[in-house]
């Protein structure tokens, strides 16, 4: 069966109520905006979102806050919940204050590592980041190698929405510059990874040495730009 989907709408059609969805990107770079728009259109409720920045406010106008605004989200796991001036209240913070959305705040490197662990079949790991802070609340602490460390659990999801610069029709992916960020690790951490791609080429069109995400991690591809 071909992995190539004609439209973002078809690619997200089976994301149902209650799903856990990882969303790649950092600010607008590497953010799958077209898939996010399609998901908003489809409108599942009670989603749990895993995303680096969920504060809105960056220059990118299409971000996970469009799902929060649409009332589709029950939980957000993120490291940016407020943005810019610390006095400004974000859409996410407002929703959290109103009791509409639960927020789990995670240090950025811990978030990345929890996602990588999820994709790598590792259950949990110890890290020194966050010791003695709110980020350690309720977590097991152990001294390893003379240093206090906290136990952090892996993250997995039902779907990952990611963005790549180039894909072949098998789903081998290449990212460009700083648009790579969370996309390769999120590609590994879900049952179904859906990649929005700027350029689609035939099999053999990407040198095996250049592949950044091997096709085994990618279920669906939606070309939103050039098709070679």
């Amino acid at each position: 069966m071909s992995k190539v989907f004609e439209s973002c709408a078809e690619a997200v059609a089976d994301i149902e109520d209650g799903a856990t969805v990882m969303v790649g990107g950092f600010t607008g770079r590497g953010t799958p905006s077209q898939l996010l728009l399609a998901l908003r259109e489809k409108g599942p409720k009670n989603l749990a979102i895993v995303r680096n920045d969920a504060s809105g406010g960056w220059k990118n106008p299409i971000d996970v806050d469009i799902l929060i605004e649409a009332g589709m989200v029950r939980k957000v796991i993120t490291c940016f919940a407020v943005f810019g001036s610390p006095k400004k209240v974000s859409l996410l913070e407002r929703a959290a204050m109103d009791g509409l959305v639960e927020v789990e705040l995670v240090p950025q490197g811990t978030l990345a590592e929890r996602i990588r662990a999820g994709g790598a079949g590792i259950g949990a790991f110890y890290t020194p980041v966050g010791v003695g802070t709110e980020a350690a609340a309720g977590k097991e602490v152990r001294v390893i190698g003379g240093r206090e460390m906290i136990l952090e659990h892996a993250l997995k999801a039902d779907f990952s929405l990611i963005k790549a610069h180039r894909a072949d029709t098998l789903g081998n992916l290449v990212y460009r510059m700083s648009a790579r960020n969370f996309n390769p690790i999120m590609a590994m951490a879900s049952r179904t990874t859906i990649a929005e791609v700027e350029n689609l080429v035939d099999v053999g069109g990407i040198d095996p040495d250049e592949v950044m995400t091997p096709c085994i991690f990618v279920r669906r591809i939606v070309p939103t730009g050039k098709v070679a």
Binding site: F26, T27, G28, R29, G30, N52, S55, W58, K59, C79, F80, A81, V82, F83, P86, K87, S90, L92, E93, A96, M97, V103, L105, V106, P107, Q108, G109, T110, A112, E113, I115, R116, T127, P128, V129, G130, V131, G132, T133, E134, A135, H165, Y175, R176, M177, S178, A179, R180, N181, F182, N183, P184, I185
Partner: protein, 225 residues
């Protein structure tokens, strides 16, 4: 009321911080004021800047019209890359940070305690804040330099006995560069190392909550001011 000297500008603070970054080092600059430091690295130094969104070798900001949509720093600014730069995913970027591979990080702060505790991610009384990469940088970089104004907008000390703001990391700061002084975190407390032009140690102490250790205080190097 004691008449105080003039507070140094952000650019002058950035120039003072830059002096701390000696040749051949890898450095991450926090979002906001610390990013100014990259403009003041002297020639002949091989400082390579890391951005936690996946760049090793961040160059100057992109000229208008030369921006690349896929190339930005962690503060969402269009940047360039320097010779020898590389891109990586977020997990690898934080391996560099958590794994102790960065020589230094420069971070902004709300408060620093006399033990070198850092608070910079959340205002008291707020429901939420943003960790970003600050907790990872504070725990992982070999040297944590804080760059901040010496007092709050209301004139309250930011250098305090105990942080009243939520902590980013305990006992992590090694140097504090403010708009009036350079202060080192040492075993027995905070040592005042330099005062900005027009400031005496006594005046700096007045705006600092814990007692400062005064041994050898010098003026900021002339090249800075």
């Amino acid at each position: 009321m004691i008449i105080m000297g003039e507070m140094m500008s952000d650019e002058i603070m950035a120039r003072r911080v830059a002096l701390e970054l000696s040749g051949d080092c890898f450095v991450n600059l926090g979002i906001g004021m610390p990013m100014l430091v990259s403009n003041h690295i002297g020639t002949g130094k091989q400082v390579m800047f890391q951005a936690e969104n996946g760049i090793l070798g961040v160059g100057p900001r992109a000229e208008p019209g030369m921006e690349d949509k896929d190339l930005g720093n962690a503060g969402d600014e269009h940047v360039t890359v320097s010779a020898g730069a590389s891109f990586m995913d977020s997990a690898t970027a934080f391996d560099m940070i958590r794994g102790g591979h960065l020589d230094a990080t420069v971070l902004g702060a709300f408060q620093v305690s006399e033990k070198g505790d850092l608070a910079n991610w959340k205002l008291p009384g707020r429901k939420l804040g943003s960790y970003g990469g600050a907790m990872d940088l504070a725990a992982g970089a070999r040297k944590v330099i804080v760059m901040m104004k010496h007092v709050t907008n209301d004139g309250l000390p930011r250098i305090v006995r105990e942080c009243s703001y939520p902590l980013t990391a305990k006992n992590c700061v090694s140097l504090i560069v403010t708009d009036i002084a350079v202060i080192k975190v040492v075993d027995d407390g905070l040592e005042l190392c330099e005062t900005a032009p027009g400031w005496t140690p006594a005046q700096v102490q007045q705006l600092t909550e814990p007692p400062l250790i005064v041994r050898n205080v010098s003026s900021w190097p002339l090249s800075v001011s």
